[in-house]
Symmetry: C2
Subunit: 267 residues, 2 copies
């Protein structure tokens, strides 16, 4: 990224609480209330935009957000419409719902709408994504792979992400869907990328790309491949499990902090 | 353990192939054929002993084992019966089926039957366990804990195991049931124990307690807690996720070998 990054990313592992304590949505709402009172919810990822919009309109309305703009971008042409771009420009907090991460990148990638999002982010705004909206954040995003299974090379699908967190791969619904295998496979493809697996109702709050705090009820798994001494990625036959030696793994819970520059939990 | 250990453990993650290539059962059968031609199958763990016995009788019969003794130990009294103990003494390969690992330890623990098993093992015989039969092998065994969820302290159930692999904790159905969270929690309780998570249709073949080879179609996850620099195990409130820093993780596939003394994959 060429611009300095003053923004915040709130990256949620999906199924954040919408009716109880709402720790995560409360954090999103607080930022919206403190920074102009507006919130944009982008439902581009989902094929049920009305239902999803209604859920978030209710939850964020309860949390005191008066101006909520729902952006249901269905086509790349819409991502060029000045009226939609202006809505993004008017808000300092923008929320991406779940669905399919490829819908987000293929409709928004490199569009004026995305440039407006980026401007918001770089100037200190907050971009939020849950589930597919979380997966889309990094430079390269996981789009498919086994759940509750060990990683085999042909089973991993990767695609270019939004680039908001360049040196990471994010996976959501992490413990719930047994995704350690696929995240390990993704990290082994290029250990430059830190693997971040986020449980449901759990989020990382990334400040200026430098560090993150964990909030919510579940865990965040950090898969650090820096010390990988061997992987069979290029040797293995098409059916084989990917062998990997010396992965460093951290499990973080609410209140824990991680330093993305030093690649260390902060204790 | 006081006696030298010349034996082999074949520890299977459950659901080993019984009709196709049967890589794992073939390895068990080969050892039985080469060492007296007898096999004992202990169905103590299961509440469906007839069905389970029938499956293994068919599979091992196909693989050329002529003398198969089914030991359906239902009570501790039976584990003292000379006729059953003699059957164990006559065989050099003994196979524990799946079911509930507490049924194995509570019926067999410290019985004459178990002493006969131990004698077989220490003198170079082979003990095999799948699923619950695998979980029961270590000094301390996992008996309950979350699947597809991150580990929270009260959710982990541990109990004294058979002690055949003293410094390990074994979990089975590993990727399939999303059990990394509970194995991490078990290792954090005492990092002396190496955590070994075994996928279905996958096994480790442990020779003399020194090293193991991986066979089968899935992966084996080795969770080495030696370098854990922090865990919240004693700090966390009852609802909290267990935070753990600096776990070393290896993923091994068929053909890979692990040195239990050096705690390193062999490459």
């Amino acid at each position: 990224m060429t611009k300095p990054n003053l923004g915040t990313l709130i990256i949620i592992g999906g199924h954040e609480d919408k009716a109880g304590d709402r720790v995560i949505l409360n954090e999103v709402a607080r930022r919206a209330r403190d920074d102009g009172g507006r919130l944009v919810v982008v439902t581009a990822a989902t094929q049920l935009p009305e239902e999803v919009a209604e859920d978030y309109r209710a939850a964020f309305g309860d949390l005191g957000i008066k101006h909520i703009d729902m952006l249901d971008v269905r086509t790349r042409a819409e991502a060029h419409e000045a009226a939609l771009v202006d809505k993004v420009k008017a808000a300092r907090v923008i929320f991406f719902t779940g669905g399919d991460q490829l819908r987000i990148t293929s409709q928004l990638g490199d569009s004026p709408l995305f440039q407006a999002l980026l401007e918001t982010y770089h100037t200190g705004g907050t971009l939020v994504g849950t589930s597919a909206g979380a997966a889309a954040m990094p430079g390269t995003m996981l789009i498919s792979g086994p759940s509750d299974a060990s990683s085999k090379l042909p089973s991993l699908g990767m695609a270019p992400g939004l680039g908001l967190m360049p040196d990471a791969v994010i996976d959501s619904h992490f413990a719930e869907r047994g995704r350690i295998g696929r995240l390990l496979g993704a990290v082994a493809q290029n250990p430059r990328n830190l693997g971040i697996g986020i449980d449901e109702d759990t989020a990382i709050v990334v400040e200026r790309g430098i560090c993150f705090d964990v909030i919510g009820s579940g865990a965040v798994y950090v898969v650090d491949g820096s010390d990988i001494s061997y992987s069979s990625l290029c040797e293995t036959d098409a059916d084989g499990v990917i062998s990997i030696d010396d992965v460093r793994l951290h499990v973080l819970g609410t209140g824990d902090q991680y330093d993305l520059i030093a690649r260390r939990p902060v204790r």
